[in-house]
């Protein structure tokens, strides 16, 4: 019998916290489970009890070893019922209970009977349950049925066996490897998902054999692939083959590059994206090879679907690290993403622009980012700050506007991690760009006048003590440090005193303090 499609009451006045499980209690439900032992089983009632048990488990309730065993034994009695709906719930319950090896034996024969049942639903689910709960010894007994199931006419049964095979491969690889012929046959299946599962399993079986994988890829790239998921798998395996073969980009195209490029024109977006991503991740990829992939990703940037925009901008972000010039065509689309509702997308767009921007666009970019920063959460801001730091190191001549930007955001609201990231960035810029030293130290001094984080104040004072004496006019900083001696909490005051001492020790001109 099918499960209830919907239970609808005629009067559905909303009771705010109504739940059919209100007041449910583990002990009471376990008592109810005694009904499984009745010689006259009521399938509806039993299903309800199982649902309650599953609800408890789902909410994080645990059963003691004794309770679990009792429930398991009670549930096994339910195999006597012919009700298909109840049988589905029994399968679900057995999987949740994860019975131990000696308990499993009780249900083995029932499940094996179901595995050979005329009802396809029983076969498919019994396979999945058995393969989840058994160990190697039983597996050899049922191997014959699994091999038959892999090439079963019914695609759900075949998929169940293939997917179980992938799981079993982790623990008993030698058993699954004997199924190669059947799996190979299943790869040719007309049922879309059977091919997908078979391909996954076959690859897993053969993944250490380079030649076998290469043959598999060669035959399938020329054959028929029936589902987008299988196509994505094939793209991944193709990338693997390309990686492992001795490629020579100078002498003509890579092997299989044509296949990847053709996938960029597939009708399913997941395939297009998988192919584009695979191309961008080819080792030693050339600009010529990248171009079609980037074109496609650029189109995704203006999609109405956030998932596509996100996937595209994340991939372009990675490409920008190694091939910034290849991504510059996308800059206009990226700039419009800065105001994207989805803040992850917006942040990725900004950080990509920071990597691909050239010196002339830096000022414009900084202006756009200033508005953007107030809208996003601290964790995104930190990402942006680090990208700005890299940008500044790339274009040292632009230090002024970037440094100003950093000091402005330092003055605004923000958490500790965020401010620390900014301070670290300023410190790095001071260290690496000699011209930026004076203004950088100055900005830091202004910051400690109003800094709520003791740790940061002390770090900055320490840094000042090291760098200040080396500047052209150390006396400028004395006022700031001296104020810290008077106005702050003890930790900061101590730090300020040490800093003054350093100035005094290292700068002769200041030794006499009037």
């Amino acid at each position: 019998m099918a499960q209830p499609l919907v239970k609808k009451d005629d009067d559905r006045d909303d009771e705010a916290d109504y739940s059919p499980f209100l007041g449910i209690e583990k002990g009471a439900v376990l008592q109810e489970a005694r009904v499984f032992n009745d010689p006259q089983l009521d399938p509806r009632r039993c299903s309800q009890v199982i649902t309650k048990l599953l609800y408890l488990l789902n909410q994080g309730e645990t059963f003691t070893k004794v309770e679990a065993t009792e429930v398991f034994f009670a549930v096994t009695k339910l195999f006597q019922s012919k009700d298909t709906g109840l049988r589905r719930m029994v399968y679900l319950m057995i999987k949740e209970l994860s019975p131990s090896a000696d308990e499993v034996i009780i249900v083995t024969s029932s499940l094996m009977k179901d595995m050979n049942s005329k009802t396809d639903m029983y076969r498919a689910n019994a396979i999945r349950v058995l393969c989840r709960i058994t160990d190697g010894t039983l597996l050899t007994q049922i191997e014959r049925y699994l091999k038959q199931a892999i090439v079963d006419k019914n695609p759900v049964v075949a998929s169940a066996a293939l997917v179980s095979g992938v799981h079993i491969l982790q623990t008993n690889p030698e058993i699954v490897k004997r199924w190669s012929n059947e799996v190979q046959e299943a790869v040719q299946s007309r049922a879309a998902l059977v091919q997908f599962h078979a391909l996954a399993l076959l690859h897993q079986i053969r993944q250490n054999d380079r030649l076998a994988v290469s043959k598999l890829v060669t035959s399938l790239t020329r054959g028929t692939v029936r589902s987008p998921l299988a196509q994505c798998l094939l793209i991944r395996y193709t990338s693997q083959v390309i990686r492992e073969s001795s490629q020579n980009p100078q002498t003509g195209d890579r092997p299989f590059y044509d296949y990847l490029e053709a996938c960029l024109r597939h009708k399913a977006e997941m395939v297009i994206f998988e192919a584009a991503r695979a191309i961008t991740e080819l080792s030693g990829v050339t600009s010529r090879e990248l171009t079609p992939a980037i074109t496609v990703l650029q189109l995704f940037l203006s999609s109405s679907k956030p998932v596509l925009r996100f996937a595209a901008v994340r991939t372009l972000n990675k490409v920008a690290m190694t091939h910034p010039l290849a991504v510059t065509n996308c800059n206009i689309d990226m700039e419009s993403l800065i105001s994207d509702q989805n803040r992850s997308i917006a942040t990725l767009a900004i950080t990509t622009l920071l990597k691909t921007g050239n010196e002339s666009s830096v000022d414009r970019l900084m202006k756009q980012i200033t508005n953007f920063m107030s809208d996003i959460a601290d964790e995104f801001k930190i990402v942006v700050v680090e990208a700005i730091r890299s940008l500044c190191l790339k274009f040292p001549l632009k230090y002024r506007s970037l440094m100003n930007f950093l000091s402005n955001i330092l003055r605004e609201e923000g958490g500790f991690e965020y401010k620390k990231a900014i301070v670290d960035s300023i410190v790095i810029l001071i260290r690496d760009i000699p011209d930026a030293k004076e203004s950088g130290l100055f900005h830091l001094c202004e910051f400690i006048e109003d800094c709520e984080f003791t740790y940061l104040s002390t770090q900055i004072l320490h840094f000042l003590g090291n760098e200040g004496p080396k500047t052209s006019d150390p006396s400028k900083y004395i006022r700031y440090i001296y104020n810290r001696v008077i106005l702050e909490n003890p930790t900061v005051r101590a730090s300020a005193v040490s800093t003054l001492a350093k100035f005094g020790a290292l700068v002769d001109a200041l030794k006499r303090v009037d």
């Binding site: 209830p4 919907v6 789902n58 909410q59 977006e269 956030p306």
Partner: protein, 212 residues
């Protein structure tokens, strides 16, 4: 390392972030506390966004999470950071569509809890141990609701009504609800010994012919 797409968890939370139905397929959250903490974080991170028309996406802690909200239910699917985001989105869409079919478009927390068995079976038919079984919503719903999946008629034809059937059924239902009730009530006021019986919407296993 597997190269096939893997799902790390499927979560169905209510509008306060509490569990309606969840399933984890990864050891990344070994304790209940770890799981609850993840659920709390992902819920609070996404609750202010508008994920009602299109599926939304975010990265969190090295995981990609795609999500969608409808009424007071929040659907989440999580994958690793290297996963193809569109594949995750197709799993989410399948989950969302299947639930919509199974709950007859009455997708809210109360209906979900009243049909928790369907929800759990649904999740069971989408992913097995992290491997995607099916992403098409009507196929998933068909596997859950059908009496059997024996060959012949396509899965979605067996019990899930086609649109034409649904339209017919809804008009028929409305006819029964209003017209026949009126007649019944009229009859009972004239003939008090005829009590109107409140017929419910078809029970499980019944076909459309059983409506009378």
């Amino acid at each position: 390392m597997e190269s096939f797409p893997t799902i790390k968890n499927i979560l169905l939370l209510d509008s306060e972030g509490k569990r309606v139905a969840v399933k984890y397929y990864s050891d990344d959250w070994p304790t209940l506390d770890a799981k609850l903490s993840f659920e709390k974080s992902i819920f609070s991170k996404t609750m202010k966004t508008n994920a009602r028309t299109e599926a939304e996406i975010t990265m969190f802690d090295d995981y990609i999470v795609v999500y969608k909200f409808v009424q007071d239910l929040h659907f989440f699917v999580t994958g690793g950071s290297e996963e193809n985001e569109l594949i995750l989105a197709s799993v989410l869409q399948g989950f969302y569509d299947a639930i919509g079919l199974l709950l007859r478009n009455s997708v809210d927390k109360r209906t979900a809890l009243e049909n928790l068995d369907l929800i759990l079976l649904c999740i069971d038919e989408i992913v097995d141990g992290g491997i995607i079984l099916e992403t098409d919503g009507s196929a998933i719903a068909g596997k859950v609701a059908s009496n059997g999946i024996d060959g012949g008629a396509s899965l979605s034809e067996q019990v899930i009504p086609s649109l034409g059937n649904l339209i017919f059924a809804s008009w028929f239902y409305l006819y029964r609800l209003f017209v026949l009730r009126v007649i019944h009530v009229h009859k009972t006021t004239q003939f008090p010994h005829c009590r109107p019986s409140v017929k419910r919407w078809p029970q499980r296993g019944s076909t459309l012919q059983d409506l009378s």
